[in-house]
Symmetry: D2
Subunit: 256 residues, 4 copies
């Protein structure tokens, strides 16, 4: 380890200002598939942003893949407390530089909410360190998302489970590190289970992976799903931490 | 399992009302030892309560061992979102009925902040299921409490470590279950280490064990220690959960 | 904390001798219900013991509720590295003294494998510190037990999931502390999920809770279920630890 | 997710054959610094390998940075159950292809024991997903490594702590994900603490990070340090898992 290094942590949301959320969307399905456009006329990011805007103490912006720097230049991340990420078919189109930037911001304290197929998004995979592979099936089957940690703030306001009538299936083995806290487990009609609400601390940042979502099924119009996303934003918001110092240090006690 | 049972979770703090804290103190040292009375003229509970009263969105009451029902009748717990507990020499004087009541409330969602020698308090030991024993020494030595999870809300606003000039030593092995999240680690001048900030989910409730404290050393006048206690209160406050149902249930899907 | 105390840890299984298992069974259903007797003519304990006896490096004894001291006098526990526990209808018949003894041994290093309805057994509930309640249904439905931690020794030799054609359902919310490691998740035909393979460290001991089992369904003749129990025995066996010391200690470094 | 994929898990060590360990060493200090050569005349890898060779059921090979493919061609990893890694000044010299290979093998079940400055080795950092930075100081101060999980197999045979008279200091904040199990905590004379024995499950593999070590201080001649490394090898050895399947799957239950 060659030199002293200071990690300047994310400027936290003070009590007196809103949490600033950026909803990032690949935004390609919506432009090429009329079925998706019919369900999400303003994009998946638009549907999520519109809901979050109704929530007290949350301020929302959006960004998409085909904007310059994918809509995530440093200036945008400077004004982002929590980044929500939805991607599916174009993970590989996200530039190295933006992946590095997002990962660096999360380690410095920015919250990240990774939705559904973002399990294979480049920032999420990098932060997990594993393959993040899973089993899947598109058959429009029933999903039931059970609360396993009812005292967790991300479960606030929910009933014992959320029912989704038509969902893509994601099944175990889900190749992630064991989450620091497991909040939800999914049941699928076809016979599988899945860890569908997973909290991780990484660096000074907090990450929530939330399984529900799809480009065809209208999952992001489901009120309980939207409630979880809003809860996750509040949980993942950075706290007022000082800079975290690394590198060579002097002793605080006499040696010898 | 003989019958259906519903756990009525604690009524949570809605956004629009303060978190209601009850600071419980054994309150015996202060009455018998003039050195303790000099440092805590209104009791340890008084010192902690006075600080919390200055915090926005927190409402404070106190309760002590020698009040009827130890100051914790059901009506008091009905108005308690988070219970702070300090006990030391009279753990065994706490009545079974009150222990049962406190444990039941925590499982139903009430927060519990156990301070210092409350590691051997009856409610904490019951909720842990282990001996909660440790090593100790009273020699007025230096303690340094390091933040190991800088993104955790209980570490908000702290520097990299808290220094306490004169402290009682608590050392590992601390016989607790591994905490769900480890926030602080203590260093002691005499050669020991200790897991001094430990988060636990138990039932629908959240528990934070925080090591610093003593009846002679003026630990609860230390601003960073008080900051941690206030942070812990916000973290441990119940969330708006529905009742958690247990017992026999009907299938949600056709069988056969 | 009044006095110095040494926890004499369980004498571990040295490499050169077998792991000594005691299979404990309530053993009442088998005596009163001919359907149970037909499936388990030598009792549930007999079925499990017979399998373990075929495993290299494992030595087996049994004990039942209606023996003196429930078959668990100190001399029996002195020769027990891992205790397997099955109880269902008579949890309350287990004497305080035996509960204390078993809990003390686990904290001192003895392994405990709690099967199925032992989630409400007195030693398990005491060691967890929570209600250990859950939802249930007896409808002979299908269960599929998925491996979520394929590198864990308790999952050794299994396929991706174990299928059980007719099972009692146990569903979340299961009111336990989050396990230190979650190895299995169950899917049920009627729509529920369950954390069905849970590892806990408590004191110097290791505990594995394993959901499958029933007095009517022939679960303990299922080879993969038996394989998990044998794996759990090896995982839970005590390690060669020195005594764990608690209480007042002298400084190891000069103070001053 | 474009296609079905099977992760062929590592061929496990069956009961009847030894655990095959490869000790990897950067092996540069020893060739350029006579002080290091004096302490480790056969390299750090040689010292560790020599000890492991004396252990029953363990078979040892070594590999070093300056061999072709850094001594880690596929054929070598095919015969490696557990890889021990020591690197310090030349982390960046490890080729991408070898990093990918090692990471892939760990996810498929190979054990990894990362020693001391290997906290910044490329495979370890990739598998953690965080910066793995820490604080440090080279002042030859005293370290005391406390056992916090006495029932864990990696702590087998140890006393309550290991004392190291002269050590490099590593201090918190250590920027890793919270370990699945925390086995050791270090105390340092100069005032810092450190999580110095950390277990992680990643993919089907197990990783143990162990702090002690240095090129100048004779840490790898310390018998208790060597004992921990041997324990870690046994803990990290792969289990007999079937292949883990990912990708598109058919339903196991009728849909509709």
């Amino acid at each position: 380890m060659a030199m002293t290094h200071t990690l300047h942590t994310q400027d936290p949301a003070p009590v007196e200002r809103p949490i600033r959320v950026t909803v990032w969307n690949e935004f390609r399905h919506e432009k090429t598939d009329p079925r998706v456009a019919a369900i999400y006329p303003h994009g998946i990011h638009g549907a999520i942003a519109r809901h979050l805007q109704t929530q007290p103490g949350i301020e929302v912006a959006t960004a998409t893949l085909d904007e310059p720097e994918h809509g995530l230049p440093p200036a945008r991340l400077d004004r982002t407390d929590v980044l929500i990420w939805w991607g599916h078919q174009a993970h590989e189109a996200v530039a190295d530089q933006v992946v590095d930037r997002v990962v660096g911001r999360v380690l410095a304290g920015m919250g990240l909410v990774a939705l559904h197929s973002a399990h294979l998004s480049r920032p999420f995979v990098r932060l997990m360190g594993t393959s993040c592979m899973l089993r899947w099936r598109e058959a429009g089957e029933r999903e039931r998302i059970w609360v396993v940690e009812p005292g967790h703030p991300i479960a606030a306001g929910l009933d014992e489970c959320i029912e989704i009538e038509h969902a893509e299936m994601y099944g175990e083995r889900f190749d992630i590190p064991a989450p620091d806290t497991l909040v939800f487990l999914s049941w699928f009609q076809g016979g599988e289970v899945f860890r569908s609400g997973c909290c991780f601390h990484r660096g000074a940042g907090k990450i929530f992976y939330f399984r529900p979502g799809h480009e065809i099924y209208p999952i992001y119009h489901h009120l309980q799903v939207l409630r979880v996303i809003a809860n996750a934003v509040r949980w993942a918001a950075p706290v007022a931490a000082g800079p975290v110092l690394f590198g060579r240090v002097e002793p605080r006690e006499p040696l010898g």
